[in-house]
């Protein structure tokens, strides 16, 4: 039974295109979680799941929407992508065969192949399971990312709506 629907919403009017969200994402998903080591010293390539799209004065940071009925989950041939109880769409790396179906099926371009330790696997936003507020939201200096932990439509057990701004 899914209880909460957590999502990161980009606010286009506030995004100034600094890409600190990308830095934060890459750091959070590094071995050491240390900004300098993650980029300069680790054997893992820094990799951000969120991507800042820019055109002229318009920019916003786009990551997985954690859709209610995700195309990627449908497209996955090996069952490596699943919707968790808490609404997160998650990659089970050990099952992923790197066929790339999810990458082409995602209308947001939010899944990308990532090479680590010589193996390619699908990689996408996991809403930072180790953090209360996702790294990108916490790092954004201009509140251009909002973490919404409200219940999605049709879901029960509303406790309280909480919006955390970064």
């Amino acid at each position: 039974m899914r209880q909460i629907k957590r999502r990161i919403y980009p606010i286009e009017e506030n995004c100034m295109g600094c890409r600190l969200c990308e830095v934060a994402c890459a750091v959070e998903h590094s071995r050491t979680k240390d900004p300098i080591a993650a980029f300069l010293e680790e054997d893992w390539e820094p990799f951000s799941h969120t991507v800042v799209e820019m055109m002229g004065p318009i920019s916003f940071s786009l990551s997985c929407r954690h859709c209610d009925e995700p195309y990627c989950v449908e497209a996955c041939i090996s069952g490596a992508l699943r919707v968790e109880d808490d609404g997160r769409v998650v990659v089970y790396e050990e099952v992923c065969v790197a066929c790339g179906m999810c990458v082409v099926s995602c209308p947001w371009g939010a899944i990308k192949p990532r090479k680590r330790n010589g193996v390619v696997k699908a990689a996408k936003c996991d809403l930072c399971p180790d953090r209360e507020v996702p790294a990108c939201v916490a790092a954004c200096p201009n509140r251009a990312l909002i973490f919404d932990t409200a219940l999605g439509p049709g879901l029960e057990k509303v406790e309280e709506e909480e919006i955390i701004e970064g």
Partner: protein, 507 residues
């Protein structure tokens, strides 16, 4: 450097620690002055010191603390008379043959009288008040007060006020956001000022560029300006306002007009200022219909007539030599509020030579005007707002004791939302997104965050002011106004103390 003029010496040095730089390029993206580049063939981010204006945006945004902006280390031969700034300005003029422009306020080392004034406190014989236990009032009424108050008794024998009291502004904190136009600032800053003024029960001032329609709902907290260019002035603009202000002069550039370059006049500014897109907005130096106190009176009454005598009219002048006599004339012309703008006041753009050499300190102007109006028995006709270089709540309290009813804060408000006083406002490229209308850069000023920061600033000052009133044993700011006995001077001459109307410490 190669291809640069040999006469260009940098003001700042961008020091980047390559052990920390992760080449995220945030600094490149945030620098609006082309001082920082990514060189793909070196895989490095590098800087061009001669372009750095010292705004420190890159330093603030760098996620690894890799950047330090330092004063340029290279030095000219020591000279106590010719400062490096004089030399660089002179080289620049010899190169370009033009007026040197600047933004912000006068930063030269003239005396700061605030820092020569100390406050009194209660001890033993006159108890101080604890503002946390007892009510403490900062509410201030701005506008004309009657010469005397008459009471009449109604049928039930209860007293009622017979005297009609003219329109007054009610400020819960005697701190108002100074006039800074839409054009010089962007709409995000105006949005933030309006929201903060409303939240704190005080006012903000549109400056001379009109009021964007989106902000009409904040009219009750808005002072609208009528300046020499008459930009954006129309019946509705006057009607939505809380008060109207005739701008005669500005502390940063007394006696000269304004110029908003056509490049800054986009669709929205054009609609608000009521001028064509891309046309220069030139504010003449004087109002071409005001050459005397009588002319000023006509405009004051035209504004009052247009708004049914329901709103106070303020007149803002720069603090200049003859300020007391001028203020007396303004009071007699029918103004309800006089704004005195001292020589430290800021500007969006001014010739540096004017900003740095014209005007007088607000402390002197304020004391002189307050005294003159009292001597003439007309102090109650007007409220006085002191502007131009108010830095903290201590300055506010001292200004009130010297005779101000309230103060304007401009530079302080900009600082609250990120300004680092780089004084490049006139370029329209403010890297903190404040004095720019480039939609790409203006996004950096999130109006919601800015409004919160402005509100916090006023809250903090209000709290401190209550503490200072309490220690002086005063429970309402109105009781401190003009109470110069609670001030003492340190390190001032007899003449200076006479003008300020305060005694030396120990007396």
């Amino acid at each position: 450097m190669l291809y640069d003029s040999v006469f260009v010496f940098p003001n700042f040095e961008v020091e980047r620690n390559y052990e920390r730089c992760i080449v995220c390029k945030a600094c490149v993206q945030q620098c609006t002055f082309d001082a920082t580049f990514y060189l793909p063939y070196r895989g490095r981010v590098v800087s061009k010191d001669t372009n750095c204006v010292g705004c420190r945006r890159c330093e603030a945004i760098c996620p690894t603390g890799a950047i330090k902006i330092r004063r340029y280390q290279g030095e000219f031969k020591e000279n106590a008379y010719w400062t490096p700034r004089d030399l660089k300005d002179l080289y620049k003029q010899a190169e370009q043959g033009g007026v040197i422009l600047t933004g912000g306020g006068n930063d030269r080392p003239y005396p700061i009288y605030w820092d020569h004034i100390l406050l009194d406190a209660c001890q033993v014989t006159n108890p101080s008040i604890d503002p946390l236990r007892e009510p403490m009032e900062l509410r201030t009424y701005l506008g004309r007060k009657p010469d005397r108050v008459e009471i009449e008794y109604n049928d039930e024998g209860e007293p009622e006020l017979k005297t009609r009291i003219g329109p007054n502004l009610v400020a819960e904190v005697p701190v108002i956001f100074a006039p800074m136009s839409y054009g010089a600032l962007n709409l995000n800053m105006h949005r933030a000022e309006a929201a903060a003024a409303k939240a704190m029960g005080t006012y903000w001032n549109t400056g001379e560029g009109g009021l964007h329609r989106e902000l009409y709902p904040y009219g009750d907290h808005t002072i609208v300006q009528v300046a020499s260019g008459r930009f954006g002035v129309h019946a509705e603009y006057l009607q939505v306002s809380a008060a109207m202000e005739i701008k005669i002069g500005q502390g940063a550039k007394p006696g000269i007009g304004g110029h908003l370059p056509g490049g800054k006049v986009d669709e929205e500014i054009s609609k608000t200022r009521m001028i064509p897109v891309g046309s220069d907005a030139l504010s003449p130096a004087p109002h071409h219909d005001i050459y005397s106190i009588e002319d000023l009176r006509q405009l004051i009454y035209a504004l009052k007539e247009a708004t049914n005598y329901e709103k106070p009219v303020s007149v803002k002048i720069a603090a200049v030599h003859n300020v007391a006599a001028i203020a007396s004339g303004i009071a007699r012309a029918g103004a309800d509020i006089i704004v005195l703008d001292g020589f430290r006041g800021g500007t969006g753009a001014s010739p540096a030579i004017v900003r740095d050499n014209v005007g007088i300190p607000i402390e002197m102007a304020l004391a002189a005007v307050d005294q003159r109006l009292r001597d003439e028995g007309i102090r109650n006709w007007v409220s006085i707002i002191a502007a131009g270089g108010i830095r903290n709540s201590g300055d506010v309290i001292k200004a009130v004791a010297l005779g101000a009813d309230a103060v304007y804060i401009g530079t302080a408000a900009l600082l609250a939302v990120g300004c680092t006083l780089c004084h490049k406002c006139y370029t329209g490229k403010c890297a903190w997104g404040i004095t720019t209308n480039d939609p790409y850069i203006a996004k950096r000023l999130n109006p919601e965050i800015a409004a919160e920061r402005l509100t916090n600033l006023l809250k903090a000052w209000a709290h401190e002011m209550k503490e200072m009133l309490g220690l002086m044993g005063i429970n309402a700011i109105e009781s401190l106004r003009g109470n110069r006995l609670r001030l003492r001077a340190v390190g001032l001459t007899r003449e200076e103390m006479d003008i300020l109307g305060i005694l030396p410490a120990g007396a």
